[in-house]
Subunit: 325 residues, 2 copies
């Protein structure tokens, strides 16, 4: 499986005092910020923890942690954060197609993450080098060798990335590689409504979304309407519904898959990304959609028990113990 | 209070599989490594978490988190890790005297930390820019304004730092600033036995050590002998004894102060550093040695409940609630 997405380093604080509010950041969503605003946000934050992040990058790290063969396409700078991002992926065995921008020109992208006491996370992202991914940066052979190409919706915020996505999607169709799309977040859906609808209608085989994103894309008031639209398109859809779990389309209709039971949720950051890891890896190894969603729930359940959006435990071992691998 | 020490970024993994052994790193201690070995160690590590570190820097961060006025003297590079180190200190209100090396020449120092399942930590440190702290880099006015100057024993690994320490100690004596020394680790004591004994005999007012370090410096088989030597020198000594707590010298003899009760120890990294935060801050605000050691235990008890050597909780609030501030 190959993912294309924003290569970011997460810069995390526990936001006990709701600093995100004083910074005018909307709770629970990702806001894009420019370099100047990023600097002022960082200056206002207390001591931080740095970890690799990026939505589809997190999903790909999860696939590798499940024992899958995984590749990632993105862009960093030749600075230390870029080195950390590349190291963390390589150390999991992920094959990287990482374009490198010169650090004199632009820095590696970073996502400032505020983890509230109720485990919700609020994000302010400076895209940096990841913003400069272009068509010429991408290696199409990675996609040709993959069962699935997984595309990050956030990439549509970057005009040059659209060309890269177009090329990869064409390559995917050539090689019977499934095209999967993450809608990323509700505001992202609103920003790129036409692009997303066009991609979902013409190119996507597997659609991953949370409830808000699915309703925003299909402009329906309930998930029934969203799944009717997914059915009409003849694609596979899975919609995560937070602590309730996920709904997944099957030949026999929409099936509910409960979330993993978790004692104490520390940080919801990465829940959707790691659900995607399990779900897509499951599909890639021939699981049916319900089994795949169960594997997704297991992975999401691990990542919310600790700070950060990358798995800490051996997901493959967890999945084997749970009888899912 | 002002500290002088290595300005490092910690690069942390949970070492479930005893990777440190395969890398020939001795469990529980800090090994200095050169750039080449640091690169091969990092390449062997899985995905990491980056947080500010450095022994005395951790202590100073703890003093600031207790509400104390604190300064730090050290050296980083003008790279992203250097920015993170400076940010984390400044965001706590620490006054920084941070020399900056050019990143084309040398990188910010980093400490690779392996946290074992039993919460022990093994460290491999590439000193980088912190290795280049020189006499001319230090601002003596910080020391003149401080109740205590806290010196990191590890600094003696860096020949140019000795001159910086000499200058600061002279300034401290001029201004009745107490001179406190951390022996850092047993191997460090052995490497710099003569320097340490000279400093302790002629300049130090407060000595901080763990059991192994105290026995190594005074070449005695038990703590009784170490405290007899501390008494002979006419200085204040405190020796931490891990989960047992600490022994502290008082006018009425050596007093045992128990460790804070902790449900689950995650990572011992920073326990000694944060004990020093509480102990030295206690002394600075006029607590007696036993009260100061109790504040030290409280701070150490917080830092071992989570990954990383910097406090996560509001130490001032914890100390007030415990009736120690």
């Amino acid at each position: 499986m190959t993912g294309i997405g924003n290569a970011l380093l997460d810069v995390i604080i526990r936001d006990h005092d709701d600093l995100h509010q004083r910074l005018d950041l909307t709770k629970g969503i990702m806001t894009l910020v420019d370099l100047e605003r990023a600097a002022s946000i960082y200056a206002a934050m207390g001591p931080t923890i740095q970890m690799s992040g990026g939505s589809v990058a997190n999903s790909i790290a999860g696939v590798a942690a499940l024992g899958g063969t995984a590749g990632f396409i993105g862009k960093v700078s030749d600075d230390e954060f870029g080195d950390v991002f590349a190291h963390d992926m390589r150390s999991l065995g992920v094959e990287l197609d990482l374009a490198i921008a010169p650090s004199q020109v632009i820095a590696t992208g970073r996502c400032h993450v505020f983890v509230s006491n109720d485990a919700q996370r609020t994000m302010a992202t400076y895209l940096g080098a990841s913003n400069q991914l272009e068509g010429d940066d991408v290696r199409e052979d990675l996609v040709a060798r993959s069962e699935i190409l997984y595309i990050e919706g956030y990439l549509f915020d970057l005009p040059p990335s659209k060309e890269a996505i177009r090329r990869l999607v064409a390559k995917a169709h050539e090689h019977e590689t499934l095209v999967a799309l993450s809608l990323s977040d509700t505001f992202c859906v609103e920003r790129h409504y036409d692009d997303f609808l066009d991609l979902v209608t013409n190119d996507v085989d597997v659609l991953l979304a949370n409830e808000g994103e699915a309703l925003a894309l299909f402009r329906t008031p309930d998930l029934g309407g969203a799944f009717a639209a997914i059915d009409d398109l003849g694609i596979l859809g899975v919609v995560t519904t937070g602590p309730r779990g996920a709904e997944v389309s099957t030949m026999q209709g929409v099936v509910h898959v409960p979330a993993a039971e978790v004692d104490h949720v520390v940080d919801q950051n990465g829940a959707g990304d790691l659900f995607a890891s399990g779900f897509l890896y499951g599909l890639a190894i021939g699981a049916d959609p319900v089994e795949a969603a169960q594997l997704g729930s297991l992975c999401a359940g691990e990542v919310i028990t600790h700070l950060g959006a990358r798995p800490e435990a051996d997901l493959e071992e967890l999945a084997v113990n749970a009888g899912l691998l």
